[in-house]
Symmetry: C2
Subunit: 436 residues, 2 copies
């Protein structure tokens, strides 16, 4: 079984290393040895002397490698939309099996890959694209196919989870925690893709597609990063027995006509400390799945890093190699349900809102009136908090947690609160998940 | 795609219900409708009026049903060794795909089933046999096949986890907690299989077989139940910042000649509260996997119950049905590694030992001498504890935690300690896992 490896960075070099170290085991599991036909790199000459591989295998011509009759499986570890898309479409159409870790491409134009796979009768596997080594996509795409998934809630970005965990532990603000993450190597020099939620949104699209048998793309995902989460927000969360996590949420719903829909979103949210996701610290990932018959399931592990990602890539390589030897093919894309993706405004969410208000009669009535006008039901109200309410004479703190309502109604409520005479400032607005 | 269902109890009736409710989805996922060809039950006449199924499908002749040309997939939900083994071997040899939840049979004689599957070129799936709905076997048997698993540590029995959680929460003894579990329906009238660890041992054998590519049977598993865990043990654990769980552990090791081996065992053990398994409460299950490249992974969910188990069964049904339609077959048994299973005495474990000793000079020296004679290294010693040590004049408490040593040496150490003059009693002996 001959492999073309595209890319030889952190993940690629780990894959090469594991292919070497575990070659006897892999051959026994597959029933045939795995051999590297070539490794496409951007340029020769970089020092790869420590890799246990013949230097003659490196090439700067990926297309020639992919098209070679000598190649059965193409493993893409380059990332980005182009030229990866062109390469993989070419490979799949030619009937070669593809294993990829490319979440951006899958979220942007997964359809092109799935269509090419169908055309070429080829396998397309991408376990490494979401949550690194955690076996997550195979369970969604196989184990749970006898069940009906209602909701997937995940922590799928290690960088932001490290930052939020640090803010929770030390009371630091976002900028300070980001600096720590950068120093420790948990955040890249340009952290935009992580802290603005782009990375998590791509993964959310992939998870939602599998969970709901519907093509969901990155553009369908509502996205909000963590750059505006403040130390005060984290303190508010703690006062409620909660913490703040950047969650990706894909949930079944219904439109006003009662037709089934899905909503897919990434944003920071308060979750109670008793929720299994609350204790997922550092750069770990975890995904919580709620299914009709199976109930609540959680998958936990390292979401990134060379070795964990390489483990997921090689698991897929073994699977596609076995399929080829058996002359079989894995189940192809399942998108029969074709549900419509609901805009964020229609998603049902809950808000936690902290207000700094004038301490005089009628204030609560005016605030409550705003919620009522937007048809938003209030779950709990607390007035005056120890840290902030005391010693400010004329002011009081008001903390309101709502019941579930359309996100647009909640956002409109907050906008109107900001304009209210009696409201000095809206000190914190956070969505709430996991049953506070 | 025609199914023969064997058994129509808690799991079977839930499978019938889900097949009915989700029929359109299941057909879309498979590419063909699933139909029930027959349901084998022990006797007619039991009231199954609320099941959405034609009563004419019930039969008391399972063999005739299995042999019928009209049947593609046999789903066994009866349990026990015989007659289930005869039925499934018959089905597999005849080339029918088999889905089973029968952990006892798989652990007792999984080889007979795997051999029959190989003979008939048939699929054998059994996700529901371990940890109910938690997708665990498919990850082990597929996702992690590019990796090297070093250790699997699991809480795989809900009844005992409920009992130990209750003991931890309330300080109750075993008998009292068992009574509560029985009242709430978490323990069966005869709880032997659960509380003595037989159920967990069967699951341990299945997990070890998959993780280490080696046939491991129930007889290879060292087994100790929780009936002798006392309230004092739990108090000792708490004093150490730990709790007690019934763990199934399958670990790679080496024999004295340096050859790779596995050890597979089920016993109660102290684990630190910081370990992810410590917070798995009530009747939940969780399995912690340590792999070379993937690092630490955890799978969490409901391990039992009609609906969760039915979810796992139907996931397998969809998989085997798809394979049949594609004319393909899943990877067959992987037992190429054929490692030898180490006896418990050679397994490397750590002990936590509480002693009630005479409070006089030389006692610690004599106790420490026993450990030294058995070549067991002591990690920590604490003398005198608040609850018990005070007010007893001549006595003192000694709590010793060892480093890792062969279990036989640790057991011999305890035996000799019991005979020591200066030791009034050995008040608690527990194995320690998870890095206390």
């Amino acid at each position: 079984m001959r492999l073309a490896l595209l890319g030889c960075g952190t993940v690629g070099s780990e894959v090469v290393r594991l292919l070497h170290e575990q070659s006897a085991d892999l051959a026994a599991r597959i029933g045939a040895p795995l051999e590297i036909a070539g490794i496409a790199v951007r340029r020769h000459g970089r020092d790869r002397g420590d890799l246990p591989v013949d230097p003659a295998l490196f090439t700067t011509d990926p297309l020639a490698l992919i098209k070679s009759d000598d190649v059965d499986v193409v493993v893409e570890m380059v990332g980005g939309i182009e030229p990866a898309r062109t390469w993989l479409v070419e490979a799949l159409r030619a009937g070669k099996s593809v294993v990829t870790a490319n979440k951006a491409l899958l979220a942007e134009d997964g359809g092109a890959l799935h269509d090419a796979a169908a055309e070429g009768g080829a396998d397309l596997y991408y376990e490494a694209s979401v949550a690194g080594a955690i076996p997550l996509l195979r369970p969604l795409r196989e184990s749970l196919h006898g069940d009906r998934i209602n909701r997937v809630t995940g922590i799928v970005n290690g960088t932001t989870n490290f930052i939020l965990s640090a803010m929770d532990a030390s009371g630091a603000g976002f900028a300070e925690a980001l600096e720590e993450a950068t120093e420790l190597g948990y955040a890249e020099a340009d952290p935009t893709a992580d802290v603005e939620g782009f990375d998590a949104a791509a993964k959310a699209a992939i998870l939602a597609s599998l969970a709901f048998h519907t093509r969901v793309g990155a553009a369908d995902v509502y996205r909000e990063g963590i750059t505006e989460v403040t130390a005060a927000d984290m303190a508010s969360a703690k006062a409620m027995g909660c913490t703040i996590k950047l969650l990706c949420i894909a949930a079944r719903g219904a439109d006003p006509q009662g037709r089934e829909t899905v909503s897919v979103r990434v944003h920071p949210a308060m979750i109670p400390l008793s929720h299994p996701l609350a204790s997922v610290g550092d750069a770990f990932n975890a995904v919580f799945v709620e299914a009709e018959a199976a109930g609540q399931l959680m998958f936990y592990g390292r979401g990134a890093g060379g070795a964990p990602t390489a483990s997921a890539v090689l698991g897929d390589v073994v699977a596609v190699a076995r399929n080829r030897l058996a002359g079989a093919r894995a189940a192809s894309e399942s998108a029969y349900a074709d549900l419509s993706v609901r805009p964020m405004g229609e998603a049902l969410t809950r808000y936690h809102i902290s207000l700094d208000v004038a301490d005089r009669p009628g204030v609560l009535a005016s605030v409550a009136g705003v919620f009522a006008r937007h048809d938003v039901s209030i779950a709990t109200v607390r007035q005056g908090s120890a840290e902030a309410g005391s010693g400010r004479g004329e002011d009081a703190d008001l903390v309101i947690v709502t019941h579930v309502a359309p996100d647009a109604a909640l956002a409109a409520t907050v906008r109107e609160l900001r304009g209210l005479d009696t409201v000095r400032s809206v000190t914190s607005v956070l969505r709430v998940e996991g049953g506070v």
